[in-house]
Amino acid sequence: MRALLVGVALLFGAMSFASAQERVLSFGVLNQQSPAKTAELWNPILHYLSDVTGLRFQLKMGATVQDTDAMMGRGEFDLLYTNHCFQKKYDGTYKVIARWAGPPIYGVIAVNADSPIKELKALSGKRVAFPSTGAFVAYAVPMAALRAAQVKVEPVYAGNQEGALAQLKARQVDAAAVNSRFLTRYAAKQRLRYREVFTSEAFADLPVVIHPRIPTAEADAIRNALLSMKHDPRATTMLERNSFSGFDAASDSDYDNARKIYAKIHE
């Protein structure tokens, strides 16, 4: 009898394990760049997480920021790399388990270096490129500043930050709102000479958040894998190739200033 119970327990254990093995966790990523470039960056990270945790992940995202946000609202992601979850309508579901490593980021409104625009007020009535209304640092933050300064601009939505800066470089717009890190990288790569007419307060970089339906043990395993990545030799090549430093520990409270911005923008 005892042997039978042990056998049944082993069988269920094996089935449970097999089920976990076949289960694929959907990992959403905010549309900061094209889906292909997003996949180029994130698929190696997900492969690394699979190797370390034994779990399986699948990159999932909408065609647009709005689509991805809508998918988030429907709870389609098990994990997600975004800060849109701090908007009031989504806030409270996903929990922060780590954040993109590195210094904080700033919202920036940049003009061409030879532009006569020197300050925020000079942007009044000008064409300003934004990635999309879904962007936080590149839209919500600068837009909140513009509103606070009572400057009304003609927004031009370029789809993503690269598009916004491309329009600036081509002088199709007078200014472009992007995040500071992307601006630095783009300017170096595309030889864009620019000047910042607005720089926001510091914001923690985007977090990885997890849906509460994921068991705690798996959530812990994933968090540990993310945080240990920067020290793991297996991830070295991947980190160097993509020029990022892995993930740092973070908590929900680190994004309170983001919540405030969202609150302002949706007033």
Partner: protein, 480 residues
């Protein structure tokens, strides 16, 4: 060979057509295969371009799982004539996830015949390109390129080239035919002039011709005509000179014969008188010898005179009813004494018996028969001499008369059989010495028979005798 029977014009046309067609065909094949190589590369490049252009779009759409956009893109791309099918295969099991097939591909058959498609060696092209992003395989892009556009293009080019080539070839042949036809037309003038010249129009000349090559021929022809006229005049003059000489010879012979005969008659008359004057036996022998020599000389003179008359065309024949049996019998009787002396048997036959009465010259026939029969007696030492005459009706008014005189004499060698009919000729020199005679008898006899419209021939075997055949076609006296 049909080619051998073709005119020069058609030979040139045919050869030109064959050469131009061969060169054109060779050029066409070279061009087609060059285009096949170039087009195959373009075909491959097009496929690569489509894959290269499609991959980033597919990466974006597949990462977000937007298969609808991928399907729309596929539907758009497959409208290209060169794309037959485009599909996305599952990364897990290789099955088709989405696909687009050229709706016209089922009916868009290649217009060229199958052999042409096979000959070009162009095959459908299938490209497989895995869609891998960040190390994750999202599936495989399968692109099937149709060779229809490429082969259709090649086929159109080939047909166009063939059509243009055919038109050019026809043009070349027609133009060449016209040019050559006009150029060779003067040849007809040459032909017509040659025919008129051959028909005896010695004044025929080819008028001036513009085509240089044919002008050379025409000049040569005209020169030939001038030469012929000149040589003919020379021949006429030579003939007239020869005839004058012959007449002079005949006159000379006739005169000489007459002049010789006169003293000869004196010699013969005196010899007869001496023989009648009771000479001694020895003198009698001498006189007989003189008489015999004189007789022989007279006979020779008669023959020479006779031949001279015949040769100069002065032989005239009578056409009177003759009894050929009587003539034959008289000839045989004439030599009967000599035959008996030589113990020769004689035989004479007529068929039919009696022979019909014929129209002819009895004296000349008698002369011929006497000559031939006399020869037979002269050259036969033993055996038999026969004379056979056969007459057959030949048409309503004529009879074919065949006279055969056969002997069992010395015979004639085959190589001498024809020369015995030449004047002053005998089978060999020893005959003249042995049997005497001037060698004119057979020549005279043949000329007489030929003047009568007949033939005199002989067949013989050396040592076995000879047979002389006279064939005559003579008018028959129809009985009332």
């Amino acid at each position: 060979m049909i080619f051998g029977r073709l005119s020069l014009l058609w030979r040139i046309r045919l050869l030109t057509a064959v050469v131009v067609a061969s060169v054109s065909l060779f050029g066409l094949i070279m061009v087609v295969f060059e285009r096949v190589a170039t087009s195959q590369k373009e075909f491959n490049d097009t496929a690569n371009s489509i894959v290269l252009a499609l991959t980033p779009m597919l990466q974006n759409t597949l990462v977000v799982g937007d298969l609808a956009t991928a399907q729309q893109t596929f539907d758009s791309i497959v409208q290209q004539e060169s794309v037959r099918r485009i599909a996305l295969l599952s990364a897990h099991n290789g099955r088709t996830v989405i696909e687009a097939v050229d709706p016209a591909s089922a009916v868009k058959r290649s217009r060229p015949p199958a052999w042409f498609t096979t000959a070009t060696g162009v095959r459908p092209l299938v490209k497989l390109d895995p869609i891998v992003v960040g190390g994750t395989n999202y599936g495989t892009l399968q692109l099937e390129m149709s060779q229809n556009k490429l082969v259709n293009g090649l086929w159109r080019s080939t047909i166009l080239f063939l059509a243009v080539g055919l038109i050019c070839l026809t043009g070349i042949v027609v133009v060449m035919g016209l040019v050559l036809g006009r150029g060779l037309a003067p040849l007809r003038l040459v032909t017509d002039s040659a025919r008129r010249l051959a028909a005896g129009d010695w004044s025929e000349r080819i008028p001036p011709v513009e085509v240089p090559e044919i002008a050379v021929v025409a000049d040569a022809f005209n020169q030939m005509g001038e030469d012929i006229v000149r040589r003919q005049a020379d021949l006429v003059r030579a003939k007239e000179a020869a005839e004058a000489a012959n007449r002079a010879k005949a006159t000379f012979l006739g005169t000489m014969s007459h002049e010789i005969r006169t003293p000869l008659n004196g010699i013969m008359g005196m010899t007869d008188l001496l023989l009648a004057s009771q000479p001694t036996e020895e003198q009698c022998g001498y006189l007989e010898l003189v008489k015999s020599s004189a007789d022989t000389l007279l006979a020779i003179l008669s023959d020479i005179l006779d031949y001279s008359n015949i040769d100069s065309g002065r032989l005239s024949l009578a056409s009177l009813p003759i009894d050929l049996m009587e003539i034959a019998n008289e000839v045989v009787e004439q030599f009967a004494f000599r035959c008996r002396n030589k113990n020769l048997a004689t035989r004479i036959t007529f068929s039919p018996d009696p022979l019909p009465t014929l129209l002819g010259d009895a004296a000349r026939l008698s002369q011929v028969l006497t000559n031939l029969y006399g020869n037979a007696v002269k050259f036969t030492q033993f055996g038999e001499i026969s004379l056979a005459i056969k007459a057959e009706r030949h048409g309503p008014t004529h009879s074919r008369v065949q006279i055969d005189i056969a002997d069992t004499g010395v015979g004639i060698a085959p190589e001498n059989l024809e020369s015995i009919f030449d004047p002053f000729s005998q089978a060999d020199g020893s005959i003249t010495r042995r049997f005497g005679g001037a060698g004119l008898g057979l020549a005279i006899s043949r000329r007489i028979v030929e003047t009568m419209g007949g033939q005199l021939t002989a067949d013989s075997a050396l040592g076995r005798g000879s047979t002389f055949h006279i064939s005559l076609d003579m008018p028959t006296v129809l009985e009332a």
